[in-house]
């Protein structure tokens, strides 16, 4: 139990949002990671968030990453016979990463991160002001 639980709550949100940004970075980095089989292609991933109780603090909830799942999106079959990864029939399998959706997700994640940094700063300022009572 912490005496300053707002820091725990905002900190948990920062951690969760940065996991989200990491998965987006991974998806965008692997947008061209093709495979010889549908299974061999990169699978885009996405985290699922869940509320996390703060021990000893009723009515407050932080957030945590429940799990990071591969998205259920079949790889795109593309005909490229000259490609070094092409199979016997000349097909390669590219991951179905939607860069637009990823960017939208990225903006949402960074806005969420920023909002929680604001919370952290305000809480810090108030805690410092409270500590200096009677000075």
């Amino acid at each position: 139990m912490s005496s300053l639980p707002i820091f725990d709550v905002a900190g948990s949100a920062l951690a969760a949002q940065s996991v989200r940004v990491n998965t987006i970075a991974s998806n965008l980095a692997n947008v061209d990671t093709v495979g010889r089989t549908p299974e061999g292609a990169y699978k885009p991933i996405e985290p699922t968030f869940e509320t996390a109780r703060i021990p000893g603090q009723e009515g407050m909830s932080g957030v945590k990453v429940l799990r990071v799942d591969p998205l259920d999106k079949p790889a795109i079959k593309r005909y490229e016979p000259g490609h070094p990864m092409a199979d016997a029939e000349g097909y390669i399998y590219a991951p179905d990463v939607d860069p637009v959706a990823q960017m939208v997700n990225l903006i949402s994640a960074s806005r969420g991160y920023q909002a929680n940094v604001e919370v952290l700063n305000s809480a810090r300022e108030l805690a410092l002001a409270t500590l200096s009572i009677g000075r």
Binding site: I6, S12, A13, E58, G59, E118, V119, I133
Partner: protein, 144 residues
């Protein structure tokens, strides 16, 4: 007998922990802005302050108390309503959804940001009142 030392810190001492509680609830909302199924909450400050006042009145009125409200059945923290921590839950309300979303989350980040900014200001105001009380007491004690 009601004197200036019956309740040395006044309403500001009661309101400060409640203001803090509201900040906690609002920070939970902002942290869970992207959590599926999370329902935005708020803290009923008015009701909580009224509850704390009633509690204080009951404690101060109890006959077993010694001078300054210390000693007796309740301690000083009890008189200021500070020990009513576990009751905070009673005043947490669920906010209605302004705009439904597919994942069942009812947090509106803009509303929460505005509410948080306002709550920070209110906390600061309570803190300023409390500080001026402390300064006044210091003047009374030291006489200068």
């Amino acid at each position: 007998m009601a004197g200036p030392f019956d309740n040395p810190f006044g309403l500001s001492a009661l309101s400060l922990p409640l203001r803090e509680q509201r900040l906690k609830v609002l920070s939970s909302n902002l942290a869970n802005a992207d959590t599926p199924g999370y329902r935005a909450q708020d803290f009923d400050f008015q009701a909580a302050l009224k509850g704390a006042e009633d509690h204080q009145r009951r404690v101060v009125a109890s006959p077993s108390r010694g001078p300054l409200g210390l000693g007796g059945s309740g301690d000083a923290a009890d008189a200021m309503g500070l020990s009513s921590g576990p009751d905070f839950r009673r005043y947490v309300t669920t906010r209605g959804a302004q705009q439904g979303s597919l994942d069942g989350n009812t947090v509106n980040t803009e509303t929460e940001n505005a509410a948080f900014g306002r709550a920070v200001l209110e906390y600061r105001a309570s803190l300023t009142f409390f500080e001026s009380r402390v300064r006044g007491l210091m003047t009374a004690i030291t006489g200068q």
